[in-house]
Symmetry: C2
Subunit: 149 residues, 2 copies
DNA sequence: CCTTGACGTCAAGTCAACTTGACGTAGTCG
DNA sequence: CGACTACGTCAAGTTGACTTGACGTCAAGG
């Protein structure tokens, strides 16, 4: 049961930044993207709920394995505004990201292991190495590389 | 035995780009970075050795798992100019990248599994979740964008 | 021979995820 | 009270990996 039993502690930008291990400018940036929120004091200074530390931790952890802020944003938006996320919340995010994470893991292990194989087979000759198959290479979605349509 | 038995086929930019699944502009870009090379015709058009396909495949595969062009460049620079890379060549690259690859794999699997754990433990509360440890999070040095696919 | 398209160069644009800078205010401490 | 620091806003810069655009050239086909 989420304890909406308020006793909320508010942190100043510098404090939050320090404790979360990010720069203050990063907080501004995240806020501009709607990843975190703040209230203002009379003097227009930001104040963050302590919970924001948890959000930042989640962002960092996700980011670190290559999930974009965009997707993290979606995930966060799907979490409840009040109280702690529930089993169901995490289950949903887990489901959303699982394929992605698994795919990354597969590619990584494959490349790592490929080195051993290639060492044995004189590989990296286009036809024999699965890793040199261009058709199979279009994972990257970004703007960057786009296959000839 | 590397067959330096010449019978080299030269490809035009369009051909290479198509067969490798990249844009011609990408070839220019890679060439500017020294990842691939070309010779010129009388009319100043580029011509690439067919081997370049293999190099491009290697670049794609490596890139896909998050190795930067910079590191790929180093790896390529360490390969022999003539003939196919040997066992030793791949072994060296493998060694260079292994920690990196393993680390990525670890983080990925950890996050993936963490979801299950967190679902069970109501995690993502800063103290209990290893993934929310900020001290451990300051690794990111870079200036600009830093993604770990 | 002329048109079309692939190619050449170089500068500038793009995108994500931030940081830096310029410049002004708020709050704290000696 | 005055200095100093933390903070506020907004624009612009940075990095990596490319793409796009502008503009001119080479080559093959009709």
């Amino acid at each position: 049961m989420a304890q909406v039993h308020e006793d909320v502690v508010w942190l100043k930008p510098g404090q939050l930044a320090e404790r979360a291990g990010v720069a203050v400018s990063t907080l501004h940036y995240y806020e501009s993207l709607g990843l975190i929120t703040s209230r203002r004091t009379a003097g227009n200074r930001r104040e963050y709920r302590r919970d924001t530390l948890r959000v930042l931790a989640f962002i960092r952890a996700s980011q670190r394995v290559g999930i974009s802020l965009d997707r993290i944003s979606d995930a966060l938006a799907s979490l409840p505004d009040e109280g702690l996320p529930t089993k169901k919340d995490w289950a949903r995010i887990s489901r959303d990201w699982e394929d992605d994470l698994n795919e990354r893991i597969d590619h990584l292990t494959a490349l790592r292991d490929k080195f051993s194989n290639c060492i044995g087979c004189g590989c990296l000759s286009l036809k024999s190495c699965p890793y040199s198959n261009p058709d199979d290479i279009l994972g990257a979605d970004g703007k960057g590389a786009r296959r000839i349509p």
